[in-house]
Symmetry: C2
Amino acid sequence: MMSEKAKQNILLTPGPTPVPEDVRRVMAEPIIHHRTPQYRKIFEAATASLQKVFRTKNPVYTMAGSGTSAMEASIVNFHQIGDETLVVEGGKFAERFTDLAHAFGLKPVVIKVPWSEAVDPKVIEAELQKNPNIQSVCVQLCETSTAVLNDIEAIGKITSKTQALLIVDAISGLGADKLESDAWGVDLVIAGSQKALMLPPGLSFLSVSEKAKDRMKGSNIPKFYLDIKLYEKGLKDWDSPFTPAVTLVIGLLESLRKIEKAGIENVWKRCTEYAAFTREQLQKLGLQIYSKAPSSTVTAARVPEGIDGGKLVKIMRDEKGVTLAGGQGSLKGKIIRICHMGAITKEDIQKGISVLGETLEEMKMTAKSK
Amino acid sequence: MMSEKAKQNILLTPGPTPVPEDVRRVMAEPIIHHRTPQYRKIFEAATASLQKVFRTKNPVYTMAGSGTSAMEASIVNFHQIGDETLVVEGGKFAERFTDLAHAFGLKPVVIKVPWSEAVDPKVIEAELQKNPNIQSVCVQLCETSTAVLNDIEAIGKITSKTQALLIVDAISGLGADKLESDAWGVDLVIAGSQKALMLPPGLSFLSVSEKAKDRMKGSNIPKFYLDIKLYEKGLKDWDSPFTPAVTLVIGLLESLRKIEKAGIENVWKRCTEYAAFTREQLQKLGLQIYSKAPSSTVTAARVPEGIDGGKLVKIMRDEKGVTLAGGQGSLKGKIIRICHMGAITKEDIQKGISVLGETLEEMKMTAKSK
């Protein structure tokens, strides 16, 4: 079904990211039933290994769903209707927290941050001092739409002293940008399978601190499929409340073994090096790095004046087999994004950026000749 | 990672069911991004093919999640808080509708049906006449936990004359038991990937009739991840509101092609023949068929007096490589269930039942010698 061209594709999007061949292979084995000792063993080992990537002793729950399902779980299980939540809004995925808060009857208190910038932790501190009713702070580790990295360590120091839960969307960042969930006092860490965990999309994850667990008791927001109490009960004997995405969990264990073998600190280091390399190469092409607080997950660069960013991405993908991401929301057509996490190699990045340079030249020539 | 033993496993559980090798192979190809013409084309073709299996002209929405996520979507998108819903409760999955109704502030009106029996449509008719406030009727096509088939055609004739929506959980039944969504007037059909669609778990589906769509407007139950309005918007250009489970959708198209090639009527016919064969073989072993309204999806048989059903399933699975399902809820240890849908062959069933007969003999001998 896949064409030869697709096979030669270099995928540099911030999710899905390339899935290593051996991970794909174990997922292609004959399927097994989930209520068997064989599956429970895999799920138990994968969960233990996930905790190492999350850097947490807290339970990590695995759900069948997109990353947004775990974002929703962080809202509906740990708040009461009418709760105020502080949302750091600096990109498309940050806005999703605001949307979720509205959808479930919370009152979002929004800190607007320019899309190219990280939030100033002092602004969060001031907001929490001003408003002691705030029950949680929602922020991205890496905001995928802008390639901005927020200083979670500094924010954790602030929230730890308050009643507010720190909710971190690490969907794209986990396993690429450094995150010390326990040491930094992060209460809820949200992740997805299709980023640095090198899997297809379809699994979402949520780690839950003791402070967050306490908050569950009073939660009165209706929920069922994403009710963490049910997942908590299931985890006691490595079961899931609903049929788990068996093959993805089997792949998860395989990809986590790779991360564990390399060591998570080394993985962060590699991503940070590749990020620096990516910025350097993009700057050599004369492009301006978009984010003022660049992440190790993904890099965004402004598309040169007079170039249609959407067209650029399309030409590179359809004619040259290199898939980058364009901009989202208000950045549509204005930036390109190159990912450097998971199984993406330095060679992939180099080749991708070389094709980018080539395509930009061609587009400039065409523009001139018109 | 999988042992040789697992490869020889005969999987006869009512989900996950065996995934054909070529379906596994396409899912193991290098992953592609979902916001590309390549993926949109696959998603469009898969959705069109799904409609043929659902026997509907209505839109079919695909979500990343277990079957329960589509059950939840059928509740939260098409009701108002306080709505009365008529739940036909004749098994473990029927009870899930009651749980969902409670979780989201509906008032379930429960028709208790003995677990081995199909609901009498006249009882539904009487209930709807008695209580014109009922907004929906929730019922299983095949109740997986009891192997009972309900008469959806007869129920549809009743609900079509009322304001009540007919919500059918066809998670296990779709593609095995005959279901004519449009002709029978089913408003919401719920399905999952890991049954007759021959895929791993991780996708859920919901078809929505015009009558149901009208009901969406007034819905005031909080929702976001399972908000059908967002999926409706996405479907306009073959997009999903949240990252789709790309590889599973790619596999879906492949398995739907198989179903389309065979013809859905022939698939129903084959499942019905295999079901009759299964009942016949089980009766030859002296076992009593549990369901008084047997389905073409799965067959349940009572475990003989003095035999521990849990132990039977365990011995067959761990020592003989044949995985059957046991009973759930109040039927735990009391029945065994053999599935005959999807890629399960007559030879698999024959071999499985032969191992069942052998194991029962051994267990009886051991019991006697004690």
